[in-house]
């Protein structure tokens, strides 16, 4: 029997699609972690996650909040001396975890992303009030009230749409999507 790909090979091949250098070339210099503005909120810094992937620690990587806390600022990517696309890696890990339906409990990121995709499928454009449903429930009372206050102020300034926008050739658009993902969430 042919050996199954390891976790690090799986992630490596996802990253390959992003035209990055392989994770195995990482020298653990820590430039990415030192650059990352969100590192102190992450369970493991970007450098550490790369070491963990290379060591095959799949469960610990998937259970971490690291990649869902990545803001996609690409600072690490432009600075890595080995040409590793760390931001691309964080995207790859997000996709991998959605694909496997495995992520740390309580994270808003995965729910938000999936809600977003459904909104686009429905109308071709995004619409803030629907997106809000994916994260508002995670807020405590003070945060919720604050959010409501900000939303009200924005509404008063005419900055929140009342009706969801829609593209005109929506039927074509949906058929287009179905050619990419034949059974996908276009319904």
């Amino acid at each position: 029997m042919v050996p199954k790909p390891t976790f690090s090979e799986e992630i490596g091949s996802l990253l390959h699609a992003a035209h990055s250098n392989p994770l195995k070339t990482c020298i653990q210099c820590g430039t990415c972690s030192g650059t990352c503005p969100v590192a102190k909120f992450m369970d493991h810094s970007p450098r550490r996650v790369i070491a963990m992937i290379n060591a095959g620690l799949k469960d610990r990587v998937l259970n971490s909040n690291t990649f869902w806390y990545c803001a996609s600022c690409y600072y690490c990517t432009v600075r890595c001396p080995r040409g590793i696309d760390i931001a691309g890696l964080m995207y790859a890990l997000k996709r991998y975890s959605i694909w496997k339906n495995r992520y740390q409990e309580g994270l808003v990121g995965p729910v938000f992303s999936e809600t977003f995709v459904k909104t686009i499928m429905k109308s071709g454009r995004s619409y803030e009030p629907v997106l809000a449903t994916s994260y508002l429930f995670t807020f405590g009372v003070p945060e919720f009230l604050q959010e409501a206050q900000t939303a009200t102020n924005l509404m008063l300034k005419g900055r929140i749409p009342v009706l969801p926008p829609r593209i005109k050739r929506l039927e074509n658009f949906r058929r287009m999507v179905r050619r990419i993902i034949p059974i996908g969430g276009a319904s």
Binding site: A17, P37, V38, F41, N65, W68, Y69, A71, S72, C73, Y74, Y75, T77, V78, D85, A87, Y91, K94, R95, I98, L107, V108, G109, P110, F112, S113, F116, V117, I120, G124, R125, S126, Y127, E128, L131, S134, F139, P142, Q146, Q149, T150, N153, L154, K157, G158, R159, I160, P161, P165, I167, R169, N172, F173, R175, M176, V177, R179, I180, I181, G184
Partner: protein, 290 residues
């Protein structure tokens, strides 16, 4: 007159309407026409790429193919849209199999991607395509002495597109100087505002916003200028939350660069969407109306 296919993006329809209005007004004075792409769709933001990259590229390719039909280059005012459209074009351009797959889907909307339309950020139209010398000839109300913190944010610069200087850019400062304002130097001008983390991991994003506001305020800036709707919203609309969370007291206006350019061109503030902000811009306006 140079014409572009204008891709406003979802935010500019409402949340950042003032960016849209000021973009249209200022480019018109520069002899540039922004012709809105008919029936454009969402570029996928970041969230779409979390779920499926192929589909996200398809969304971008549909917009690019529509611009190609009109033989126009695309201009995006939002840095996120710009980055997505730019790299969709680049990735499809270097991967014929990917382009073929996506073109098969685009047939459903009678479209075909070839890569003939280039992708520009709105700021590039001002700085590179029109040029600052030309822009200066339209300045009638230079914003003399107005101290502005130019906030680049991320995706207008990163990932690297061609050869540009991603560590020490100066184009935003140069633009501000051209309209008479004083660009202040501050450490965090290229740091992230948190982007969509403001929705998905509130605390971490608020801390990034706080650091940025602090850095700008300490440099003596009277206003922050941005070139992206997400940055504008994060930096302006969450100042109250930041204050609550960190016990600080920030109240610094955050405007689009096109609004400052418009004021320097002598365009009435109302036509630039000024008046829809949550933090008052009164002090900024006092520099324009002399």
């Amino acid at each position: 007159m140079k014409t572009y296919a204008y891709f406003p993006g979802c935010s500019l329809e409402k949340m950042a309407l003032s960016y849209h209005q000021s973009a249209i007004e200022t480019t018109r004075m520069l002899g540039v026409e922004l012709k809105e792409l008919e029936d454009w769709n969402c570029c996928g933001a970041t969230a779409y790429f979390h779920v499926d990259e192929l589909l996200a590229h398809t969304l971008c390719a549909r917009n690019l193919a529509m611009a190609e039909q009109e033989h126009l280059d695309v201009v995006a005012p939002c840095s996120g849209c710009y980055k997505n459209l730019y790299f969709a074009r680049a990735d499809l351009g270097r991967d014929p199999d990917l382009a073929e797959h996506i073109n098969y889907a685009l047939e459903e909307d009678n479209l075909h991607f070839t890569g003939s339309s280039a992708v520009r950020h709105l700021m590039e139209v001002f700085v590179d395509d029109v040029g600052l010398e030309e822009l200066k000839t339209k300045v009638t109300q230079p914003l003399d002495g107005l101290r502005v913190a130019p906030y680049y944010g991320c995706q207008i610069l990163r990932p690297r597109k061609n050869h540009e200087d991603v560590e020490q850019p100066r184009f935003f400062e140069d633009l501000l100087t051209a309209i008479g304002a004083v660009p202040v130097e501050y450490a965090l001008r290229l740091r992230c505002c948190g982007g969509a983390l403001i929705l998905t991991s509130r605390r971490s994003a608020l801390s990034l916003v706080r650091n940025l506001l602090q850095s700008a305020v300490e440099s003596g800036a009277a206003v922050i200028a941005t070139a992206c709707p997400l940055c504008q919203v994060n930096l302006e609309c969450y100042q109250k939350q930041v204050s609550q969370e960190f016990g600080t007291e920030f109240s610094i206006p955050v405007v689009y660069f096109t609004q400052l350019v418009g004021l320097a061109f002598g365009i009435p503030p109302k036509s630039l969407g000024i008046g829809s902000e949550l933090v008052s811009t009164r002090d900024v306006l006092s520099y324009a109306a002399k």
